[in-house]
C-alpha cells in the first residue's frame, strides 16, 4: 500500500517535472520569437500600408499589448487547443497543423515500428555475441551510420532506389495512395532514411545496457547454476536492462524529431516539420511557436515515459 503510494508519488513527480520544463520551454520559445522580431502586421500588409490600417491590424492581433500579456494570451490559447491564426495565410493554426501532424505522426510511427524491433534485436544479439565477428560488424556499421548526416543517407537512397533502379518514388506525395502496396512504396525511402540513424543509435545504447547486465555477478551466478544462454539473456539480463533500454529508445526516437525535418524537406513530404521550415522562411511566428511546442512536448513525453517505465520495472522502487 505504502509502496504503491510511494511509486505513485515518484511518477507524479516525474510528470510534474516534465510539465514544468515544458512551461519553461514555452517561455524560451516565446522569447526567441520576440527576438525573431519583424512586425507581423507590417509583414502582412506590406511596406505601403497606411499607419491607420497597421494600427488596426495590430490591435486585432493583440500586437499592441505588452509582451507578458501576449505570452499569457498565447499560453492560455494553447492550453485550450487554440494556438491562434497564421500571419501568412490568416487561417487558424490548429486547422493548418492537424492534417500535417497526422502525416508526421504516420511517418514517425512507421519509422518507430520498423526501427525499435530491429534495433533491439540487433543490439541484444551484439551484446550476447560481444567481441565476436557479428558484434564487430554491427559496431563498425553503426558507427558509420551514426557519423553520416541524415540528408546524405536520404539523398544516396534516392540516388540508388529512385533514380538508378526506379524501384521507388523519389517524392512522397500522399495524394495517390490508394492501396497498402502504394503506401509501402511511398513510405519506403523516407522511413528507411529516418530509421537508419535511429536504429544505429538505439543499437549502440541497447548493446551497452545489455552488456552491463551480462557482465554482472548475478548473470555469472546464473550461468554457474546451469541456466542455458537464451534464458540467461531473456530471463536474467533483460529484466535488468529494461530501464536503460527504455531510455535508449526514448532518446533515439527523440533524435528522430530532428531527422524528420530534413527528411520531410528532401522528400517534399506534407508533414508538420516542413510546414515549420516554410513558416520560418516566411517568419510566420505563431505557426513556428506552435510547432516548436509540439516538438518539445513530444520529446518530454518520450523521455518521461522512459523514466516511468524504468520506475515501474524496478522492484527496489516498487517494493520499498
Amino acid at each position: 500500500m505504502t509502496a504503491s503510494l510511494w511509486v505513485t508519488r515518484l511518477i507524479a513527480g516525474r510528470i510534474a517535472s516534465a510539465v514544468f520544463t515544458l512551461f519553461l520551454v514555452s517561455l524560451a520559445v516565446f522569447a526567441v520569437s520576440l527576438l525573431m522580431g519583424g512586425d507581423a502586421a507590417e509583414a502582412i500588409l506590406g511596406q505601403s500600408a497606411t499607419p491607420e490600417a497597421l494600427a488596426g491590424l495590430r490591435a486585432s492581433m493583440h500586437l499592441d499589448q505588452p509582451a507578458p500579456q501576449r505570452y499569457l494570451g498565447w499560453l492560455i490559447g494553447l492550453l485550450h487547443g487554440d494556438p491562434g491564426t497564421s500571419l501568412v495565410t490568416g487561417r487558424p493554426i490548429g486547422g493548418m497543423i492537424a492534417p500535417r501532424l497526422a502525416n508526421s505522426l504516420l511517418l514517425a510511427g512507421l519509422t518507430a515500428l520498423v526501427s525499435v524491433p530491429v534495433a533491439l534485436t540487433l543490439g541484444i544479439l551484439a551484446a550476447v555475441k560481444r567481441g565476436g565477428t557479428f558484434d564487430r560488424v554491427v559496431g563498425i556499421a553503426t558507427i558509420g551510420i551514426v557519423s553520416v548526416p541524415e540528408f546524405l543517407i536520404a539523398t544516396v537512397a534516392v540516388l540508388i532506389f529512385a533514380v538508378t533502379l526506379h524501384w521507388l518514388p523519389a517524392l512522397s506525395s500522399l495524394r495517390d495512395v490508394d492501396s497498402i502496396y502504394e503506401l509501402l512504396r511511398v513510405f519506403a525511402l523516407p522511413v528507411m532514411s529516418l530509421a537508419c540513424v535511429t536504429v544505429a543509435q538505439m543499437i549502440r545504447m541497447t548493446r551497452a545496457a545489455v552488456c552491463d547486465a551480462l557482465t554482472s555477478s548475478y548473470v555469472e551466478a546464473a550461468r554457474l547454476k546451469g541456466v542455458p544462454p537464451r534464458r540467461l539473456v531473456l530471463g536474467h539480463a533483460l529484466p535488468n536492462a529494461i530501464g536503460p533500454i527504455a531510455n535508449a529508445v526514448a532518446l533515439s526516437l527523440s533524435a528522430l524529431l530532428g531527422g524528420v525535418i530534413v527528411i520531410e524537406v528532401i522528400f517534399n513530404y506534407p508533414g508538420v516539420a516542413r510546414l515549420m521550415v516554410d513558416a520560418v522562411a516566411t517568419r510566420d511566428m505563431p505557426l513556428v511557436q506552435t510547432v516548436a511546442m509540439i516538438f518539445s512536448a513530444s520529446y518530454l513525453v518520450l523521455v518521461t515515459t522512459a523514466d516511468i517505465v524504468a520506475i515501474l520495472a524496478n522492484p527496489r522502487l516498487r517494493h520499498q
Partner: protein, 597 residues
Amino acid sequence: MTALVRLSGLQIAACKDGGVTSIVRDIDLCVEAGEVLALIGESGSGKTTIALALLGYARPGCRITGGEIEVAGHRIDRMDEAALRTLRGRVVAYVAQSAAAAFNPMLTIMRQVIEPALVHGLMDRAAAETKARGLFRALALPDPDTVGDRYPHQVSGGQLQRLMAAMALITDPALVIFDEPTTALDVTTQIEVLKAFKTVVRDLGTTAVYVSHDLAVVAQIADRICVLRGGTVQEQGKADQILHAPAHAYSRALVGAAAPRVPAEPIAMPPPAPGEAPLLELRDIVAGYGGLDANGRPKACILDKVSLTIRRGRTLGVIGESGSGKSTLARVVAGLHSAAQGYVNLNGVPLASRIADRSREDLRRVQLVFQNADTALNPAMRVGQTVGRPLTFFHGLRGRTRAAEVARLFDLVRLPAAIADRLPGELSGGQKQRVNLARALAARPDLLLCDEVTSALDPVVAEAVLDLLVDLRRELGVAYMFITHDIERVRAIADDVMVLYGGCQMELADARALGSGPHHPYSRLLMASVPHLKAGWLETTMDPFAPVPGQAGATADGCRFFSRCALAMPGTCDLVRPASLVADDRLIACHRELAEL
C-alpha cells in the same frame, strides 16, 4: 580411495594486453566424498580461480590451459559448454562471496532458488518450492514460508547468503563450492551463517570446497586445508595438522597472523599535568541525516549521545558493526559532518563543527586515514606529490626541503624514497596504505582518525601495517582513534575501547579489561563471535548468550540492543534508555546489575 573430486596438473592462464600470464600452476588435489576441503590464501593466490575451475568455468580473460579436472566421475576438462551446462547447478553448485550481488535484483528469491531444479528438469515447481522451504528451515532462516516471495533487496546480507546456500543445495549436488561466503558479513552475522552452513553440510553429508582467506573460519568447517600462494599449493593436509603444526614457512606465517595479537607494550607517556585538558573530548554528540525534530534530533539519527575522551598519545579503539555509526563519529571529529547536538573539544577548546570555520592549526592537528587506500589516493597524482601537498599546505615547505621531508616520511612508513615518482596504480595494497599514512603524518598531527585502515588488506600485510602504527605512536607520540569492526585488533592496539551499537555507546572500557569481569551483553556477543583458531570452537561458543528469537524491536527511547539481547527485560529495556553502570575501569549502559553481567 573414493576421491569425488580430483584435480591434477591444473594450469590456468590470464590473457592480458596480448600476453599470457600463468596465474595457477600444477595444482594437484583431491576431495573425498563427504569431506570439506578448504582453499586458503591471500588475494591473488588463485583460490577462487581454482574453485571455479571445478565448474569448468574461467572468468573472462582467463583460460584453463591444462590438467585434469574430475568431479563425481565427470571429466570436466574434456566437456564442451553444453555438457558443462548440464553439470553446473546439478552436480557442482556454487555459493558466491557476495550474495547481494549474485542474486538478480529484478526477480523474487524463490524463483531464483528453485531455478537450478527447474532448468535441469529435476522436479516440478511445486516440489521444488516445498523442498526450498525445507532448506530455508534447515538453514535457520526467519519466516521460511514467505521469505521466498521477497526480492533480494528486502532481505539482509546474512539471510541472502543462506538463501544462496539453499539455491546451491536444492539439486542435492555432489559438490558445493563456498566462495568466501561470510567475508562480507559482520562478525556476529558470520557466526549465524557459519553455524547454519555447518549444520546443513553435516546433516546432508555434503562434499564441499570452502574458499576463504580466514584461517579461523576455515578451522570451524574444514576437514582438510590446502594453503595456496601465487597460484601454487604451498601445503595441504588435515585441518588439525595445518592449524597446529604447519610445516611450510608460509603456512606458519598465515597461522601466526591469524593468532590473537599480543597487545603492544603500554607506552610510557608523561602523566598529564594537573588541569591539562584531554587532547580530544566529545560530549553527548547527536548526529544524523534529515531535518531536526522538535527536540533538535535529526530524523535519521546515526549517533545518539556519544561521549569520549582521548588523551595525548593514547589510542581509543571504536568498535561496531556496519551501521553502528562508527564512521560518522570520525566524520564529526574531522568536521565533515556537523553534529546536531553536543560539542567536540580539542585541547580543551571547542572545535568548530564545520571545516570552513576551523583554523588551519586545528585542521592540522586532526588527520583522517581511510579504509580503502585505492580510493583514498588520487589515481592521477604521483604519490610524492600526494604526500608533499600537506607539507606545503600546513608548513609552507617547497622544492628541495619538501622533497627531503617527503623522503623522510616515506622512510618513516618503511617505503623506499624512489616510490615518490609512482602513481598509486603502480603500488600494492600495503604500499598504498603506507602512503595514505605518510600523507596524514605529513601534517604532523596530534590525532589520527584511522577508519578501518587494515580491513581491506590481507592478514599478513594488515599485521605489518598494525606494527607500523604501534611504532609510529612510540616514535611520534601521536594519538589514534582506531575505528574497526575487529575486536581482536582493537584489543591489541588500543588503550581504551568504546563499543557502539546502533549509534549508541554500549560500553567504554580499558582494553586490558576486555575479556574479564562484567561486560555489556553486546560486547560479550562480539567477543564470543570472533572465531578461534581451534576446531570445534563454533559448537561451544555463545551457548550462554544465544539471542532470543522473535523479540520485537524497542521504542525509540529504549535500549538499541534490546531485540538481540539475551538478557533483555521486556517492559524496561525496550522502553527506557539505560543509564551507565560505572565500575573502576569500565562504563556499561545496561539496566541489569553489574553482578548479572
